[in-house]
Homo-oligomer: 144 residues x 2
DNA sequence: TCGCTTGATGATACTGAGTCTCAACACGCG
DNA sequence: CGCGTGTTGAGACTCAGTATCATCAAGCGA
């Protein structure tokens, strides 16, 4: 459960209208804990009897990704998932029990990337890093 | 262009038969430079007039992934791709021009992961890291 | 207020990756 | 030979994501 505001702000900042379908999608995303699939949003919309087309949900999602307010991640299983997040470069730590994510900033990664560049001779442009494990809450719960 | 042997060895080690379709798939993979999509293999097989079913290619690929002789990676675009590689924990540096990959071992990542675990309190189980950039060859070529 | 332009929407068809099903086949073994 | 298990290929299917297109709503100038 996060806040809708950053999502709406992202729309506005980029000069897109905040229409009622977009607001609805933003609400659905904000109401979600942890990562979710596009299909989840579609299901949520249907559950709530929202008259939002599938295409619209995908479009809103795509827009938010482009604006950096939502990020796409790849679970260890190879599935794609989405998370709403701050629009700054960072990485995610994903709880393999509850699916919640935490964001982490550099934490020394920069040095690691430089080291790899030095060793391989590549001019590194971007990277993708995702960490998976059990979050503190799930650990203390001992829950699945 | 890599070697077929490790792929065949992976099949044998796990007690799977090296049948002619599997051999063919291994050859197609070995003949590939850099990463490839499953569809590429299907196309290659067709081009070479090989009588191999689509399903068989996917099955062989799945098996090789399970055995660690092939890894699935996620390109920055969100597409899935495969690369053949050593069956040990490591990460890939992918050339964004030519698609070739290099493998890197720890290179200090371990310390980084520990640091993240310390900061977030997560019990980290696995991670996924991919780096993208231009390889030395492409850099000196100035080629696209 | 009318009417135009532009962005947004929703239904639907489509694509493409990957999976599932199932009947047929091939090997190893008694 | 005849059985059992592992493998195969064709094709149907699923599911995420995209493309098409006619409709609709908001903003704006005349």
């Amino acid at each position: 459960m996060s806040n809708v505001m950053p999502l709406l702000a992202a729309f506005e900042r980029a000069g897109h209208r905040i229409t009622s379908p977009r607001l609805a999608v933003a609400n659905l995303i904000a109401a979600r804990d942890g990562h979710f699939a596009a299909a989840d949003l579609v299901a949520d919309a249907r559950r709530d009897r929202l008259a939002i087309g599938r295409a619209t949900i995908f479009r809103a999602l795509e827009l938010l990704i482009e604006l950096g307010a939502v990020e796409r991640l790849d679970l260890p299983t190879g599935e794609h998932a989405y998370v709403s997040c701050e629009p700054a470069h960072h990485h995610h730590v994903v709880c393999s029990s509850c699916g919640r994510t935490s964001e982490i900033d550099d934490a020394g990664l920069r040095a690691f990337v430089d080291e790899v560049a030095r060793r391989t001779g590549y001019a590194l442009e971007s990277h993708r890093l995702e960490l998976f494990g059990r979050c503190p809450a799930c650990r203390s719960n001992g829950a699945a």
